[in-house]
Symmetry: C2
Amino acid sequence: MNEQSRWLSPVEQHAWRSVMRMYERLEGRLSRGLQSESCLSGSDYAVLVNLTEAPGGRMRHVDLARCLEWEKSRMSHQASRMAKRGLVARQGCPEGGRGAFVVITPEGREMIAKAAPRHVDEVRRLFIEPLTPDELQTFARVADRVVERLEKEQC
Amino acid sequence: MNEQSRWLSPVEQHAWRSVMRMYERLEGRLSRGLQSESCLSGSDYAVLVNLTEAPGGRMRHVDLARCLEWEKSRMSHQASRMAKRGLVARQGCPEGGRGAFVVITPEGREMIAKAAPRHVDEVRRLFIEPLTPDELQTFARVADRVVERLEKEQC
């Protein structure tokens, strides 16, 4: 490969930087909104959303980590912090060998029920509404393709 | 607003989650690549790229922070850490009142020159190549529109 062929064209570089900037800005804004309105971090919110969608509000530790695409240690620290604040509880697994569970508490349900409408309103206003339906579908399709390629490479 | 109208439709939710997942995966992969090949974090890389693009390899602290969209304190910690490792140097401003400069060192230039080709190859392989030229343009246009809306709201 010669030296020149390595670099991105102006159009490619613009696309790459724009997409990264969009994410960082959105993520920053949404996190600040959650924190100031609900005292939840983005990570707290993600854990609570996943648990409310699971039967009985509980998931195995490893499955939750997989859903969130987090390392085991990050999942473990996050669950400990949330358990201390009463948002989730940890349950052992009586059958053994299949790992502990994380379960949402009534306090956790109350917190997410309070936080979600405003958070979803923000997502809608900042990300959904500025896009046409076609653009939204293109975004989803392309993002899935990129993730698929990443996953294929990891196998 | 009634309760139902708050939630995202399945198509909207899919688009939102896909885009967030794409970013997190890409960001994770690229950071790990930089770290293992070059001992640079994503933040180190971003600082060095901005400085190499500036005349004389130097920028005012405040301008660099603005380019990177970082808080002043984050910029300050990052510059200190990089100065300790010899990647950048900090220079006072003799005229006074216009803030200190951050300048890339020869060691910093060497590091970025080594890291960039592989990093750009990864960006190309993982993000540019899976997209058609039309999709790439849609991505850039839409991302710019979302950022514009975020900025308008902040004013």
